[in-house]
Amino acid sequence: MTVLAAQLPALLIVLPLIAAALVALVRSDRVAFAITLAVSLVLPVIAALLLHRALVAGPISYQLGGWSPPWGIEYRIDVLNGFVLMLVSAVAAVAAPYARRSLAAELGDGHATFYAIYLLCLTGLLGVTITGDAFNVFVFLEISSLATYALIAMGRHRRAALAAFQYLIVGTIGATFYVIGVGFLYLLTGTLNLADMAQRLAALPDEQSRAVLTATAFITVGVSLKLALFPLHFWLPKAYTYAPSWAAAFLSATATKVAIYLLVRFFFTVLGVDVVFDRVLLALSLAGMFIASVIAIYESNIKRMMAYSSIAQIGYITLGMALSNKAGLTGALVHLLNHAVTKGTLFLALGAVALRLGSVKLQDLAGLGRRMPLTMGAFSVAAFGIIGTPGTAGFISKWYLATGALEAGEATLAFLIVASSLVSVIYMGRVLEVTWFRPPSPLALQAKDPPLSMLGPIVIFAAASVYLGLDTRGSASIASLAADQLLGARP
């Protein structure tokens, strides 16, 4: 048993990887789904064990292949990435049952390879989070990204391939920028191990030397392309709109979060917070929060509206990062979880709508509230979460962010955080109004709630978004602890 326990970090990656290979050989959709479901349910258990150990005993260091760091690749799990691992695997597990009906409806028969690609994506995301080696990050990043491009391209609309292609171009440029940045850091320090790099960078004579600055810039831009920071966000709306609903839900809840984790890891653990980028990040975050929300108001395709909403919400997270104080960073980290849960609900609910109606245009959703009460009820709860009503998870994140802004002496920033919530009231209010108060559209008349395998995840996520708004002992305390560690890591 302890042998197994010692290998848990590797298992977290190996399981989905081998499952992916297995599923690729399988022809039957049902067997593929069964394997995916089984793996998805095991992973959060492993992640929970790892997080627990990291909380109790301190960071876990796992040497891949027995080669000791810094020459060997090391998997290093502390509170921050334990939290993100938990997030990714838990979201995947809760959303997994949803896949069968949704994919069968959207992709037709013979889509077993979708599951294989999904498992690869999951492997990549978990790998980026768990590894402690900068280049290994790139490898896993590209594994997950390539899988993501393929997942998106499998949407049935012909624009899906187009969206995937654009994302491919942009994402590859982003990953390559990241590699360039890592290259500079390697030239400066001679190591690729993140922890070692941090120490050596701190020991450099002139920390703000141009090389470090350039490396930071490249890494920031590269990762920002992945996390859809404004104005590098333009690939996201198309990608999330045309991807299969389940893929869009999974990606919106995990892919950008992992990219944000990567940025946080580099900013705080490796590089140390830099003043120039703070201001820039702050400005871009605010721009994203407002501009994306305003664009969302005018969208008639609700999936695209939610995609722009995601961009705005990512703005909140980067805002918390830019504040760089404990409350702000706690808000950013806790919003990783809160947004994943809230946005997951929204996209899964929209997938159910697409299943029943065949459309996600706003006018087709008229009067859907009565026909699909549980689905739209969950959607409404999550909508309030996006707005940030007290009692929802979204409010907690904004509370911490506002606290952080006030701690940093920026009262206008706190005001702007509240003001941007008001913009989201407009577009969410629009959707709620149409779904609950209009007479049913012709498409909505025959709709009813989706089957339990789809309804279950939707309701669970919605319930979580309220629960996390009231009981924050788990999420906020872990986020707070992670923030402490990050801020204490570099002087």
Partner: protein, 492 residues
């Protein structure tokens, strides 16, 4: 004698309505059991609140620490005199409202009755939450819960008109709370670092009079349930609901939650001194008086009985806001008294309106000539309620208006006294003709047969008689309430 601790009582008071909602939902298929669940819940709740009030009358301020949601945010509860009064009014009148509802809904054979009673229970639970909230966060949470739980009640008929009105209801109440109330809470926290209701004042010395005046505006208009003009439009629109809902909305819970919240904010967030010194709150006196008079004037012009009562409510609520704005000891006591007396009076009037609709199918004032002969008990109760609204003895309404008048004089605002008197005259003008004509005017239909007594169903009759007697009782028993209110900092 040692009974359950006050803290336990607070917990029970909060839990019983929600447990009752579950019970009602579970028993939906057996109407008699379901109705019994509602009544048992109401009785239990009132018993708990009554027991709690004994402690609070004695000076105790029980606290219940709930959930610590985030640093600085807690779902915590504390019972102080204002909240105690509100809880007493709400829980007491709720039982009567439930009895009335049962009679009304069955007489009309209304559909979706289980949803109705479940939402009722949820709404009263939210109301108790508002009454006992210890900080602005908890208040806001239950305030929104009240809006959401009463929405299905307002749109109960599900006709296009009901949906339209429901939309306005939700839009206006959610809109004002998100756009004005929530930012006001955020600013309060930014200025003072906490959201707890503090005896004395939360914002003491932390903001300039200008900021206080502006913040007050955000609160007053953000708390849309208080129906201060111009955010009052939801009130007449909500008339489309069945009468038990209107009674609940107007007398028991929703509007009372609004003015209660304003009173609570004025006393515990701003502190009465802040509003008196520097005249930061003076604009509010003007706005409230305008709302007072306009409400009465518009009421005069309404032929639909419920609409007339709705605008009357707008006007009567403004009395509480005037008292809060004047912020002198007597004014604050008067405002608290008004919550109680208006609740009893208005619920009587609404019960009568519903009874008239059930028994005689009449909704317009002009149709009510001579109806007193057919429904003597109802119209007598109506007469009693009208007197309380006008403010004449021996009705409780006299005391609330009296104290407000005294409070106006304390604030050197004698002109407010004039406004109050004009409003009383207007109230007489739009209310008294109804019972008078009901008894003394000849009925429009030719009397083909001797007039029989054709009263409303028994539960309805019972309810409205009790509330009418309550209005009279409040005249004689105002002193204990006033004593309770003197425990409110700044009141006297």
């Amino acid at each position: 004698m040692t009974g359950p601790s006050p803290e336990l009582l607070v917990l029970l008071a909060l839990a019983i309505p929600f447990a009752g909602a579950l019970a009602v939902a579970a028993l939906g298929r057996w109407p008699n059991l379901r109705e019994a669940a509602t009544l048992v819940t109401g009785a239990a709740l009132f018993a708990v609140v009554l027991t709690l009030s004994a402690a609070v009358f004695g000076g105790a301020r029980p606290e219940l620490a709930g959930l610590a949601v985030a640093p600085g945010l807690a779902l915590a509860f504390e019972v102080e005199p204002l909240g105690m009064l509100f809880a007493l009014v709400a829980s007491g009148l709720w039982i009567l409202n439930s009895i009335y509802s049962i009679g009304y809904m069955r007489a009309h054979d209304e559909p979706r009755q289980t949803t109705f009673y479940v939402c009722f229970a949820l709404a009263i639970g939210s109301t108790i939450g508002i009454a006992f909230a210890q900080n602005l966060f908890a208040l806001f949470l239950f305030y929104e819960a009240l809006t959401l739980s009463t929405f299905p009640l307002v749109t109960h008929k599900q006709s296009p008109e009901a949906m339209r009105s429901g939309r306005l209801y939700l839009l206006l109440l959610l809109g004002t709370s998100m756009v004005l109330f929530l930012p006001a809470i955020a600013i309060t926290w930014a200025l003072s670092g906490t959201l707890d209701f503090t005896a004395g004042s939360l914002l003491a010395g932390k903001a300039s009079p200008l900021v206080i005046g502006a913040l007050l505006g955000l609160y007053v208009f953000g708390i849309g349930k208080a129906a201060v003009m111009p955010v009052h439009f939801w009130l007449p629109a909500a008339m489309v609901a069945p009468t038990p809902v209107s009674a609940f909305l107007h007398a028991v819970a929703v509007v009372k939650a609004g003015v209660f919240s304003i009173l609570k904010v004025v006393v515990y967030v701003f502190g009465p001194d802040a509003l008196r010194i520097g005249s930061a709150g003076e604009w509010l006196v003007w706005v409230a008086c305008a709302s007072l008079l306009l409400g009465s004037l518009i009421a005069l012009r309404q032929d639909n009985l419920k609409a007339r009562l709705a605008y009357s409510t707008v006007s009567q609520l403004a009395y509480v806001v005037v008292g809060a704005a004047l912020a002198t000891p007597a004014a604050l006591t008067g405002a608290g008294l008004q919550i109680a007396t208006h609740a009893a009076a208005k619920i009587t009037l609404f019960f009568c309106a519903g009874a008239i609709y059930v028994a005689a199918h009449k909704t317009q004032v002009s149709e009510l000539d001579g109806i007193g002969r057919r429904m003597p008990i109802t119209m007598t109760a109506f007469f009693v309620g009208s007197l309380s609204i006008i403010g004449l003895p021996p009705l409780g309404g006299l005391w609330s208006k009296w104290m407000l008048g005294v409070g106006a004089m304390q604030a050197d605002a004698g002109w407010v006294l004039g406004v109050l008197m004009v409003s009383s005259l207007l109230s007489a003008a739009y209310l008294l003709p109804i019972p008078v004509r009901a008894f003394f005017a000849p009925s429009p239909e030719p009397p083909s047969e001797p007039v029989r007594i054709q009263e409303a169903p028994l539960p309805c009759l019972l309810a409205l008689t009790v509330t009418a007697i309550l209005s009279i009782l409040l005249f004689f028993q105002a002193e204990p309430i006033a004593a309770l209110l003197r425990g409110v900092p700044g009141a006297g």
